[in-house]
């Protein structure tokens, strides 16, 4: 018997979305590795296609294992529901195309991940959707940039790699005063450290590849919607006007608070085909079970590494994390020393990812952010000598041993 108990975060990280499998009683979530699902009758098939009943049709649109992951992350973020995608960028594109079309406009923080800047400023722009990039703390400029055709305001909880934490409450107020939703990429914080919906966000995005997965075993993304934004107003015709993509259905009339999630899945995910695979969803589900334990240790280990770097004579500057375990620092030897340092590391993995249980290192200016111009790099908070660390779960003494040896190697050239 379900009662009204509000279960805690760790309990939901283990249980939300995964009651025992109704078909077999399996306690672990089975991997439903199937492309399609047999209908009970032609009548049931028609009801499913018309969105008049619930159930699975085809795994491009929904799958039981993927749905379990979606429900769990929705629960942890405090959202109404979620849609999993093949990557974080796919979840972002799914969000944009659910709300905007040619002629529309977006406002985005300029401190976001380089891949987000490229997606919006090149690929999405080619679809006729323009984006203004602005500092996330420039509230007056953001207010001024939001016009009648603006459909969303986009920001990261923690800028990548700048580490700047956005004032989500202030940005939510600006967005809502202008009648648009606040979309927040919460990848670096995870719902364990920050739940943007509690601060006014309407849609939360993740690259599930990072802390959610936790082990670097699969690419994935997910969008979560709060369910409180008034889509019924005339500002979002893709939701409130008859849809040619779905039998002239008006999503806000038929689905109420679920309008955005239903259109994003039934039309946009269906049409872009960027769904998450059942196997990958299972890996992300497993990762979420230990998210609270891992995040505590990530944060504790990051503090130990920051203390070591701040005391090191070879270090020019450290930008400690305001939140989380990803941050940047610079060596006195500049860009060349950064490269020699990275090449000398033994235990830290040099790769383009963050949020793994293993400690990671990269030089953003020549890798993740290399598509950006020098001007864009500085706007994004990336100095030429910046080294980005994603502190993992190893013994901190071992991590420090490796950093110290690599600094010696860099100093001796």
């Amino acid at each position: 018997m379900q009662n009204e108990r509000e279960f805690g975060f760790s309990t939901r990280a283990l249980h939300a979305g995964t009651p025992p499998d109704p078909a077999t009683g399996a306690r672990a979530m089975p991997i439903y590795q199937t492309a399609a699902y047999v209908f009970g009758s032609t009548e049931q098939a028609a009801e499913l296609f018309a969105l008049r009943s619930y159930g699975h049709i085809y795994s491009r649109i929904s799958n039981p294992t993927v749905a379990a992951f979606e429900e769990r992350i929705a629960s942890l973020e405090g959202g109404l529901g979620a849609i999993a995608c093949s990557s974080g960028l796919a979840a972002q594109l799914c969000t944009v195309l659910s709300l905007a079309q040619a002629g529309d406009h977006l406002v985005c923080a300029q401190t976001v991940y380089g891949g987000t800047v490229t997606q919006l400023s090149v690929t999405v722009k080619r679809m006729g959707i323009e984006t203004a990039f602005l500092p996330p703390d420039g509230f007056d400029a953001i207010r001024a940039a939001i016009g009648p055709s603006t459909r969303l305001l986009f920001v990261e909880t923690i800028g990548n790699p700048s580490g700047v934490v956005a004032d989500l409450r202030a940005l939510a107020t600006i967005a809502h005063d202008a009648g648009i939703p606040l979309v927040v990429d919460n990848t670096f914080a995870t719902p364990f450290l920050c739940r943007p919906i509690e601060h006014g966000a309407d849609i939360v995005l993740h690259s599930a590849t990072k802390f959610i997965n936790g082990h670097g075993t699969a690419i994935g993304g997910v969008l979560v919607e709060a369910g409180t934004f008034p889509w019924r107003g005339g500002r979002f015709p893709l939701l409130s006007q008859p849809s040619p993509g779905y039998h002239q259905k008006v999503f806000t009339e038929t689905f109420g608070e679920y309008a955005f999630l239903m259109r994003a899945r039934a039309e946009v995910l269906r049409d872009i085909g960027a769904q998450m695979s059942p196997m990958d969803a299972w890996l992300h589900l497993l990762g979420l079970e230990t998210l609270p334990l891992r995040m505590e240790r990530h944060v504790r280990n990051a503090a130990a590494i920051v203390a070591f770097l701040e005391a090191s004579p070879d270090v020019a500057w450290v930008r400690p994390p305001q939140l989380g375990s990803i941050f940047t620092f610079g060596l006195r030897g500049g860009r060349d020393a950064a490269r020699q340092f990275i090449d000398a590391l033994e235990l830290w993995s040099h790769l383009a990812n963050v949020g793994d249980s293993k400690s990671l290192v990269i030089h953003p200016a020549s890798t993740t952010h290399s598509q950006l111009s020098n001007e864009e790099l500085l706007r994004a908070g990336v100095e030429p000598e910046s080294i980005r660390l994603s502190v993992g779960l190893e013994d901190p003494d071992d991590l420090i041993w490796d950093l110290r040896n690599a600094m010696r190697a860099a100093a001796s050239g």
Partner: protein, 158 residues
């Protein structure tokens, strides 16, 4: 009594058997048709359309008024309402006259006077929720769509 919590709404849905749907439509584009189609396929419910302009929906006979339905079939356990907000007070008055114990106002079907009237008459009242969605929350439907059902359990669903 206005049912505000999900558990109260669930208990109502478990208690009712006969549903009179005021404003049910035969037009597949209308939300009321979607909800009618879903509910009438649930084995625990008997759903009847109330609409003076229709003879039947999907071969299920419609009644012109709640009074006519009650006269033929008895008092329904709940009235599910799909009408314009301006017409809700008269719907509630009709429900009171028949002695309906519970009334459910669907998404956007909101009129504060009608809600207060039903509440004062002792009815269980649900406002601005969808009967299809709330039913699906506890029988696994929402979970198939990645929606947050709020259900946490280690018991196997029977």
């Amino acid at each position: 009594m206005i049912l505000a919590t999900t558990a109260q709404v669930r208990d109502l849905l478990r208690a009712v058997r006969t549903i009179a749907m005021v404003g049910a439509s035969a037009n597949p584009l209308r939300p009321s048709f979607t909800v009618f189609s879903y509910l009438r396929r649930q084995p625990e419910y008997e759903v009847t359309p109330i609409n003076p302009r229709l003879e039947r929906i999907d071969a299920i006979p419609a009644f012109p008024t709640l009074k006519a339905y009650a006269g033929a079939c008895g008092v329904p356990d709940v009235v599910d309402v799909f009408r314009r907000p301006s017409e809700l007070v008269s719907v509630v008055n009709e429900a009171i006259a028949v002695g309906v114990p519970a009334i459910w106002f669907q998404y956007g079907v909101v009129n504060d006077d009608a809600t207060a009237l039903a509440d004062a008459a002792g009815m269980a009242v649900v406002v601005d929720r969808c009967m299809k969605v709330e039913h699906a929350r506890f029988c696994g439907g929402l979970s198939t769509s990645g929606l947050n059902s709020g259900v946490i359990t280690s018991r196997r669903r029977s």
